[in-house]
Each structure stands twice: as C-alpha cells, then as structure tokens.
Assembly symmetry: none
Homo-oligomer: 219 residues x 2
DNA sequence: TTTAAACCTTAAGTAAACCTTAAGATTATT
DNA sequence: AATAATCTTAAGGTTTACTTAAGGTTTAAA
C-alpha cells in the first residue's frame, strides 16, 4: 500500500510518514500541489492525504479537478478549519474524510485504514495470476497491463480457469461449467481456448495431453 | 433505486410508498416476513425498511439472520418502542438506523437517502465520474459542463449506474432496480440507454456483450 | 376540463458480433 | 511411420444489441 501525502509542514509530515511506516504503509511525501499533480499523473497510489492550506494554489480546486478527471482514490483532507460547514463543504467537493488540525496522528492512521478497507471491500473481486488480471465486477480482463476484449464464452471459460485455482480442468469439466447441462456436441471449448491464446499468449493455457488444460504462470 | 418495505399496517405502508414515489424511489411493499425473505432471495434492492412488530415471526431474529448470511444492504428498522435501549439493541443486531412509530414520513425519506448515500461512500450529494456529474439533490445532470435534460426514466437508469460504483449491471438488474416487480416486457432499458447515449455520448455507457452495461470514463 | 406536449413502452427491422460446426492440418506418442 | 489427440480455420446460422417509429399514457398548461 502506497499513500501520497501532500503537506507543507515538515514536522507534521515526518510524523505521519513514520506512523504509517509502522503500519507497513509506504508514504510518498510532497510539499506542493504542483508536485502532487505531477506525481498523480505518473505513479500509482492507494490513497491521498491532502492538506488544503498549501501556499502554492487552491487545494479545494485541485481536489474538485481530480474528481472531475475521474480520480477515484480515497482522499482524506486536512485543514486548519474546524467548523462543521467547512467539513460539509469538503465532503461535497469529493473528499472521503476530513481532519482538522491539530489532530492525533493515530486518528489519521485509523481513518485511513477504515477508508481503504471500505474501498477494498468493494473491489476485492480481483483475480491476479502472473500477467493475467480479471476484474469480476467489471467483467474486464487485463493481460500484461493491456485491456483484452473477450467474448462472453471466452470470458466464461477463462473465469473457470481462474476459479479452479491451479488445477487441471478436463475438457468435460470446462464444458459442464460453461454450458451447464446443455450438452454441446462439438469442439467449441477448444476453439475458445484457441481464441484466448491468440488474444493473449499461447503459454497462458497449457495443454495437458490426454487430460485437459491448466492455467499457467505468465510474465 | 428500489426499496423493500416490510410492514403490515397498510395505511402507513401506502403513505411511505407514495412519499418515496415522489422522490423517484421504487418501493416494493410486503406485509410478512415470509414474503420478505423470499423476495430478498430473488430480487435486487438498494435498501430495506423493516417493521419489527409483524405477527408472523420475530423481526429481530430475521434481521440477525440476514446479517449472518451476508446481507449488507442498509436496513432501517421501525418499531413501536421508543426507549434508548431498544434503539441500541437494534443497531447492535445490524440495523443501520432506527425510527419509532409514529414518525413523519419525510424523516424516513431523509434518513433513507442519507443511509444509501453513506453506503455508496458518497457522503455528498454529488457524483462525478469523468465528464459526467450528477447532483442528486437537484436531480440535475451535467455532461462536459453542460446541463443535460433527462426524462424521469433516463435519470433513474443513469443514477443506478452511478450507484453501482463501476460494476457491470445486467439488463435484468437495471430492470429490477428501476421497475421493481412491475415486469416490463420489452426492451425499454435498451431504449433509455440509447437516449442517454444520444444526449451525451455513445462512449458514456459501454456495453459488455452478453452480460450488460457499465458506466465508462469519459472526457 | 380540455388540449397539447412530453414521455414511456412496444415491436419490428437491421446490423454486427458471436457460437458452433466440421474438416483439414499439425503435433505428440508409441 | 502410424495413430490419436489437439490445433487451426472458415463458413453458416444464431443470438444479441441498436435504431426507429408509432400508439398510448401521463403530465403540464391553458
């Protein structure tokens, strides 16, 4: 897990970095909005802690802009303001949570974890094996980072492999799993596997001659 | 949005159904726990309003059981009891909120909204994803900064996408969420999607062939 | 209350993607 | 080299989704 901390108070930042390090969280600390924007464009983060009171711009506008641009990461906002209206305003423009300074670093850590957990609870429907990734909630498949467009049957077959957790599947099992009892009198499974290999790589699905197929580690 | 109301007082139920209908919420009203259990197994809901005092069983046990079985929907509980202990007990066994009779229907509606929003991690009334923005309090939709005029059904369908948090929705789910049990024997969802795409852009809603549709990032 | 406008549901036609076949080619095994 | 298993290809035929338009219903305005 990797968090982006945007904060110009070095002492405070240091405290956060250390506290989160103890939790096994990698924190990248930047002290300006400009740097933050650049980092967000080029790096992957799990969450952002954003101080709204930095001198080099308007933090609220930045937050709004991120949300408009589809940044969906959890964002916790830090401000000097303590009143309820400010809090509401923050949530309105897209923050996930809010802390007013001064705050106990342990509280920040707790909230961060809660938010990431919430986020995780929603999308732990990911399968990942070698270079293959399947997002079950979106029915999307990525291979070596690239989105692969699969037909319904191809997707079904691949999902069966993913769910078989490294076991060999016979052609018969595959047929049953994807067709149910609607028997299929042909080699269509073979054809779908052929297409899957073509769209990704031949090595993705290994043939176990005389028995069936198995999903293979890819890189 | 589709809510399951479990309540044996017909007059009260009618009031709730009508009030929520004005808010664009589809309410399915059932008058027994048995029916509710069955409905929950077979249908998709966004939330449940549960009267604990029905004659055909123990509402608290039912609630507990649902939670044990992994039902994570927001549930608002209605009871005749007014004391604080009862309220705490309800929350303990898995309710998200509590109302004691008699209550103002408007309050129920407000709490329902708040809870559903919270559930979706939107602690604000704005949804923003790519170039699409929805203001739930005003029922307004903006695309690329421009106000888009949508009909009631178009708006409902779009809101379901917004609240599905990046998941694929099957045509069936969309139908259930916007029509409830008033089965619709046609392709009207397809038509509404067609209109939404026409008013904004084709890319807004991606079709996942053989499965359903998903809201896509737009710019 | 009447009238007009907007809207929703249908249904049917069209186009595209997809699935199953089957047959020939290739590869592994004996 | 012979045989069996698997791969590859391409062509119907089928399913799925898109589009359009008409009729009926609701909503709003006069």
């Amino acid at each position: 897990m990797r968090v982006l901390l945007v904060e110009d108070n070095k002492l405070l930042a240091q405290g956060v970095v250390m506290s989160l390090a103890k939790e096994g969280v990698q924190v990248d600390h930047l002290a300006s909005y400009k740097q933050a924007q650049a980092a967000l464009n080029n790096e992957d983060f799990s969450a952002i802690i954003l101080d709204l009171g930095l001198p080099d711009g308007n933090g609220e506008d930045l937050l709004k802009q991120w949300r408009r641009n589809g940044v969906s990461l959890p964002i916790i906002v830090l401000t000097a303001n303590t009143d309820f209206d400010t809090k509401l305003a923050c949530l309105d423009i897209g923050a996930d949570d809010y802390l007013s300074k001064p705050f106990d670093v342990r509280e920040l850590v707790a909230r961060l974890r809660a938010i990431i957990r919430r986020q995780h609870g929603l999308d732990n429907n990911l399968f990942s094996f070698g270079a293959l990734e399947i997002d079950f909630t979106r029915c999307e498949v990525h291979f070596r980072g690239e989105l692969v467009s699969l037909s319904r049957r191809e997707y079904q077959v691949l999902v069966e492999f993913a769910q078989s957790a490294g076991r060999v599947l016979t052609r018969n099992q595959l047929e049953q799993l994807t067709y149910g009892w609607d028997e299929v009198g042909s080699n269509s499974i073979e054809v779908h596997i052929h297409h899957l290999r073509k769209k990704m790589t031949t090595e993705l699905i290994k043939t176990v001659r005389g028995i069936g197929y198995i999903l293979a580690q890819t890189s």
